[in-house]
Symmetry: D2
Subunit: 347 residues, 4 copies
């Protein structure tokens, strides 16, 4: 099958994936499923992988390369192991990014990201920038009628990460309250839609890029700011004292120490982006009774919920499509932020 493979890590990112013909994956365990890839989202994590950021975690012995990236996958079931009963060849599916065990206590709780025996196709093993891709039955969700893999693939990671943060925010946001969203990219534009649909709050979208601000406005943000030097004052003026919740999709470049200064008393920052270091006096935490907490990729059940919102036409992925042969162009456009929303690779 055709696949794009990474051959070396390079912090400067002066490497290209090679488009090659390699053997398709085969089933070796009764719970496995092979998916014919319909589309695979391109993720900032893929850039970090190329840079070598994840090398220590996913490739500690240096034995992984060459391998196939791609962890935001949707497509059609091609083949199933002997114990699989919930899907059959031809079914259109989206894949939760983790292959979980279903046995450990975290799996019993539904905390997929903390499964003690999980695998992450596209990180430590081959993923979806290829024609076929191997996962297990527990990771699959059948698509609703009339939903195409191409339209939803990045929901598998970018979508549920944004959904998990926005759903947590929505629970703290009664009508009349304010939610600030820092960064309106592949995740932020999903969060804005989820907040619009699941909360009576007012949203304030903040991004340095004019194109992202236009998109935020189209998606119903109540206020759109450019994140300039007066951001804190502007936001406190709009909100009458600060936001009730801030979702920080940036987490670096100084944003990590602006985010919590945007809160009102009793407010909470949900941190999704990473890279920087937060420095916060305990006096500010206590006197204002504010909270700062991280949010990871969403659970399987959260992907199910997001797909329902999508099937109802309430939340859509904004994307730009690239052929698998053009994946290096897609990566270059992503680095330079030449598209809004998400880039999607189609084999």
């Amino acid at each position: 099958m055709k696949a794009a493979r990474l051959y070396e890590y390079d912090p400067a990112m002066n490497v290209k994936l090679r488009i090659e013909d390699i053997p398709a994956p085969t089933i070796t365990r009764p719970d496995e499923v092979i998916v014919k890839v319909g589309a695979a989202g391109l993720c900032r994590t893929d850039l970090h992988i190329i840079e070598g950021v994840w090398q220590g975690i996913m490739d500690p012995h240096g034995a992984l390369l060459p391998y196939v990236m791609g962890h935001e996958n949707a497509g059609w079931v091609e083949d199933v192991g002997s114990a699989v009963t919930s899907v059959k060849p031809g079914d259109a599916v989206i894949c939760h990014p983790l292959r979980t065990c279903g046995i450990c206590l975290n799996c019993h709780h539904g905390h997929d990201m903390h499964c003690e025996h999980s695998q992450f196709p596209g990180l430590g093993l081959n993923g979806g920038f290829a024609e076929y891709f191997l996962t297990n039955e527990r990771s699959l969700i059948k698509l609703n009628t009339n939903i195409a893999p191409l339209d939803v693939a990045p929901m598998a990671d970018a979508g549920i990460t944004a959904y998990r943060a926005a759903k947590r925010a929505a629970k703290m946001l009664p009508p009349g309250s304010y939610c600030a969203v820092l960064g309106v990219g592949g995740l932020g534009h999903i969060a804005l839609q989820v907040l619009r649909e699941m909360s009576g709050c007012r949203t304030i979208a903040i991004d340095r890029e004019p194109g992202a601000r236009v998109l935020a406005k189209e998606l119903g943000a109540d206020h759109v700011l450019d994140g300039g030097p007066n951001l804190i004052e502007e936001l406190k003026s709009i909100t009458g004292g600060g936001a009730h919740v801030v979702i920080d999709f940036v987490g670096e470049l100084g944003v990590e120490n602006i985010c919590w200064r945007l809160l009102r008393k009793g407010g909470e920052v949900i941190v999704v982006g990473y890279g920087g270091t937060i420095e916060v006096p305990t006096l500010d935490l206590v006197a204002n009774e504010i909270k700062i907490g991280g949010s990871l990729v969403g659970d399987y059940t959260e992907l199910v919920e997001l797909m329902e919102l999508n099937a109802d036409g309430k939340v859509k992925m904004h994307y730009t499509q690239y052929k698998l042969d053009d994946i290096n162009t897609a990566i270059d456009d992503f680095k330079n932020r030449r598209f809004t929303g998400r880039g999607v690779i189609v084999p």
Copy 2:
């Protein structure tokens, strides 16, 4: 001032309110406020008062009549007691229906309806079917700019009762779930809007009246049913096994024993309407793990939240306007369901 007063209870409702000139209320305590009535909602409770249903509770000694009904009031502050600081004459306000003490433990919890020393203008003392009306500072909410008392008066009771139930429902309704709303009158049509704005669920509106069903459709109900003899089958077919939440705004006429049969496993009925008696085998409760619970008038803070949704244009009261002189016509139209939404009296 001009006022409409009730002179006798009559289960057959063959009585008319008398439009009279009576002395306007005056301030006798430092926390009191006189409101010039802008509009007062007409409520099913008013019909029950005339029928004598509330006589034992609000008029145990038979000393109340003649008196002024009207407990869903909005208008402008006319005069304030010596200790009042948060409002001043001329301010446009809506009035939470209860005058609460602010001292008892329930008040400290914000559970206004359970205040141990509350008064209920329009029930046990004079209300708002008049030019002026007496309440206290704790019951008042200033209206947002550009909001007219006429457009919101019934929010003070019908609105927050629906809001409280719908907000409780929304917390149990993830995307893809179903909420059935039984009865699309003055309360139900608000609940549909609140669910649309605060939850990613799908709504099923049920009403015998064609006009109510048209209104439900306009307000965004995903499904609209006429509540015929096949209701349970129809709803189970739409929902794939039953609703996750049912809000019963009827609570009588047999609906009270249909409502819980509409649930799926793990579901919950929120009962707002009353009159009938629910008969449910404990085996059904346990085997299906369902819940049935009542919901009362909303708290002050819930009225604040509802007014924010209204100010944002997200939830609107659908109403028909009557002059105070025509209040008996309004009552007659209400009894015969000649209008959808709510009837509102303007002095």
Copy 3:
């Protein structure tokens, strides 16, 4: 192996289980596990099975008998299927009563009792009143060091059913509040201990049997009542207006219509026992804003939590031990309430 089998249903319960030698179960699927039974709890459900109450559900084609009852099992792993990795022969384990699929949406949520493909050993297939018993890996919890199967077996169903109800209650019970527990048998005596450990509330235990009341007192109940004709008045006097939560482990014999009358405003009944029919006016539900809801067997994760409480010495099962050969005596003693707590069968 030695096993006790049921040969016929009899509403009058004039039948005895036959102690026989039958083939031990064998593994046929990769996720299966054979457990050498250490002990098996005797449950009211077993009496209902003999009476034929469950016949329509668990034996619709009349092909089940003779079969082995027993769904509250603990013991030691004897053999494991090829895919099993989390337990090995010799491990001491307790068994969640359901064999769940791990694939359906309810399993992903951790709602074991609503698994779409579950099996219930001891109901529709052979259970634990025998030397060996067949289940699957997902149902097993390893026992903490020094915990013997005999001491915990009924935790597998009686325990977690009580735990689930008591944990739900505890969330609604701040310090100074009251929880009434109706029925202090195999379930109620566990609930009292859980409430003592996980809530700052005061408990009121109610039982007609003197022995059960003595046990309640030993377990720390703050008040113990005999459930006589003045129960409602007694309880309202103790609590100053009614209980905040009532857990009804009876659910029949008239208790089902006393339980909700014991509540104060805003209170909730958790129904665990069944058999009767609740009749409650919607006016009572609404005016008092009370809730009535069923509670089923607990989830796997709840059994894990209960076993931690047990390992910490905080919650203990009170039981009487019978040999498998004496199982018919145990059943007779249970019917006539000749022991407090639970009866346990040891092969």
Copy 4:
């Protein structure tokens, strides 16, 4: 009346309060109450006041001194304003530290600490290191029968601050989970008791002082550590990977950057002590999905709940008693940590 007054701020704390005879407070508003002080807790905040830490906030114009500190007060009602109905002279009471307005939105929510018009006797106006003290009706809670003001005074601030944090922790702590408590002083020793009563978790108490560790053990801590250089390793070993919740009563001296390193994945730090600055990489927050949040003084309703626990004998204040004449000795002993628990001043 006799009172202890502060005459100057001094960062080195080389000042003494002067014991003087000054006029007793009088009632000037209808909702005011004069309390005859039974006892007043000595708080770390009092030390900070003397040092001048609060000068900018509570004494911006330099017009406050000399004044009476003391914000943790209990005693007996001496006199009441004309509108007061819930207490009468002679009633034993404890005083929530804030005089709140009861009118603003935060008061309606029960968020006392965020009242927009609050006063804080003992900080910006005279407090309870005196024979009499002025507050308002909304701040008072009647003591349960047989409870003496002396035994509970520090509950008014130290107690509810610890209770608020521990109650929030308890909601996140199922059986088998671990809660680390950093600092077993006036607050920490209350938190340990609250956790023991309201949660099925295991507690790990950490303090550098041997006396505090002895007290922790007496109060039922499951593990007691001395907070030495191997704290993180010791705690991770005990807990199998980290605590589910950490309550940091220190918040300075380096503890603020140890606290969050004690967490397991999904865990939360509740910060109560302050002074230091937390430095946490966003990557740690996100990858481990941990939260860090401040907790302030508890609400009125939390003080009610804590007094119920105290009345039930479940939570007791450990204290050392000083006469008002000896207040400077008490301050000196407190600075040098010569007592465990709390110091209490008796007029």
